[in-house]
């Protein structure tokens, strides 16, 4: 990126869908609606809780709600919360619609553009026989129709293009022109805490279109960078995107629970908002796989939003909204994970496990709400990192 890069709009790489002025305006409306809900409407939920839901719950049960689950119970019938939730859900569905329109219109062009080679020496390895895990087949995560893996035509890149555009709208631009804030923030933490760490090979698990993956090419120019995902359309798109930007990454279609890399192949394994889209059993299998893949002294770092125990109960309740309203079935349980416990269960030394917060690398101060809440992704201004050193 050059110094003249516009930081207030999505970076135009070689396969980003084009938009007509109307299509772009429709997407901008969704972005504005999301920001309006997050910054001006969502806070009314707290007043509704204090003014009526909490007193009603206390009267009925004889005790104030203590946990986020009790607050959810107290708020379950509140009309302000219900209406906000309904609008929030709609903003999500409208977002997917607004990005599907231009992708549907130009899909053949996008597929053709993705097929053209470019400067970088990256590779793409697909596996049509890969079994898509149950946790991705059950519901379409975060309401994206078809998820990461559904193919609507031959050599399909549709849901890669849909996801790339939608993430920019979903985060309201607060993850930067490349949607790379989670990767950049994880890298900043690694560099601050392991200044002499020089990984030879890096693996990004659940890389989707490579939003975070490409940052590792710049941060560790001597390392080989690998990205895996279960979805073929996102990987084809990721490969084309990386090639157009001159970033050499080796993408392959694999399940992070069981990969075909050799033992000890990687020094650094990272994931960015992967964990909450798996399951309790899968998460443990992934960590066992990380243990196998890491060289001694190697590091695994997962980036997510904060665990509920670190938040006031009301904030945890608001962050938990996605579990029941945004097709994120593992969101809630994943926010209860404890790094030392997982490390101990998966063959790591729990003493070498860590949990940390790192402020967002991308500056978007004026548009951050500084709250972790449903429908306000990237608004908190920090990411929660957990993992372990082997």
């Amino acid at each position: 990126m050059t110094a003249t890069q516009d930081l207030t709009t999505q970076f135009r790489h070689g396969v980003l869908p084009q938009t007509t002025s109307d299509e772009f305006s429709r997407q901008e409306f969704v972005k504005s609606l999301k920001f309006h809900l997050a910054s001006k409407v969502s806070l009314g939920n707290h007043d509704a809780y204090e003014a009526r839901a909490k007193p009603a719950y206390t009267k009925a049960t004889g005790a104030e709600p203590q946990t986020y689950a009790e607050i959810r119970k107290a708020m379950s019938e509140d009309p302000y919360f219900a209406f906000w939730s309904a609008m929030q859900r709609n903003s999500q569905e409208m977002m997917w619609k607004s990005v599907q329109i231009p992708v549907e219109r130009q899909l053949p062009d996008l597929i053709a553009a993705a097929g053209k080679g470019a400067a970088a020496e990256g590779t793409l390895r697909l596996n049509p026989d890969l079994e898509i895990p149950k946790y991705h087949r059950g519901v379409d995560i975060h309401c994206m129709p078809g998820g990461y893996h559904t193919e609507f035509t031959a050599d399909d890149v549709a849901n890669g293009a849909v996801y790339d555009t939608a993430v920019y709208i979903y985060a309201m631009g607060r993850m930067g022109p490349l949607n790379s804030d989670i990767g950049d923030t994880t890298i900043a933490w690694i560099k601050e805490n392991h200044p002499d760490f020089k990984p030879r090979r890096i693996l990004d698990m659940g890389c989707t279109v490579g939003h975070s993956t490409l940052s590792y090419c710049d941060a560790f120019p001597d390392a080989e960078v690998y990205g895996i995902d279960v979805g073929a359309p996102v990987l084809r798109y990721a490969h084309a995107r990386a090639q157009s930007m001159g970033k050499p990454v080796h993408f392959s279609q694999q399940n992070a629970e069981s990969t075909d890399f050799e033992d000890g192949f990687f020094d650094l394994i990272v994931s960015h908002i992967l964990v909450h889209e798996t399951s309790n059993a899968a998460m443990r299998r992934i960590m066992k796989e990380c243990n196998r893949l890491l060289t001694p002294g190697g590091l695994v770092v997962h980036a997510e939003t904060p665990p509920y125990r670190d938040l006031p109960a009301y904030d945890a309740f608001m962050l938990d909204w996605d579990t029941r309203n945004n097709n994120e079935p593992y969101w809630g349980a994943s926010h209860e994970l404890v790094a030392t416990e997982i490390a101990a269960e998966t063959g790591f030394d729990p003493a070498k496990a860590f949990e940390a917060y790192q402020p967002s690398a991308f500056e978007a101060t004026e548009r951050r709400t500084k709250v972790f809440q449903g429908g306000d992704f990237g608004g908190g201004g920090a990411w929660w990192l957990w993992g372990v050193q082997k």
Binding site: T8, T20, S25, V41, D47, A82, M87, R89, Q100, P145
Partner: protein, 119 residues
């Protein structure tokens, strides 16, 4: 021209119902979509005006190809926020009322503490 591909419209998974009558869920969805389409139309008028001001004929092709720069995008962001204040008036009205009621539930001692602490 390659064959047109239709993408999946509905995300798999049961959609939550937020209101007692499912017709209200649908009506809200349609209302919000319409609010969006009004904003799209308003941007289109704004584009026509800007092209005309710049001495460019506001043909369909010129309008469709128009790319707002960061200054125009910022102006439109501000317009949409005010527009949403207007469209969602009834929500903001309720929010204001709840804010007042929530403040009233606070014990007087807590207000003293707040003022002393400089809040």
């Amino acid at each position: 021209m390659a064959e047109h591909v239709t993408l999946q419209k509905k995300a798999r998974g049961e959609r939550p119902q937020y209101f007692a009558d499912p017709a209200i869920d649908k009506t809200l969805a349609i209302t919000l979509a319409l609010a969006g389409e009004v904003a799209v139309l308003r941007d289109r008028i704004d584009t026509i005006e800007r092209l005309a001001e710049a001495g460019v004929a506001p043909t369909r092709a010129a309008v469709d190809a128009y790319k707002p720069d960061s200054a125009v995008r910022a102006e439109r962001d501000a317009w949409r926020d005010t527009y949403l204040d207007t469209v969602l008036r009834i929500i903001h009205q309720e929010r204001e009322e709840l804010e007042q009621r929530a403040a009233d539930t606070k014990p007087y001692a807590a207000v003293i503490e707040e003022v002393v602490a400089g809040g």
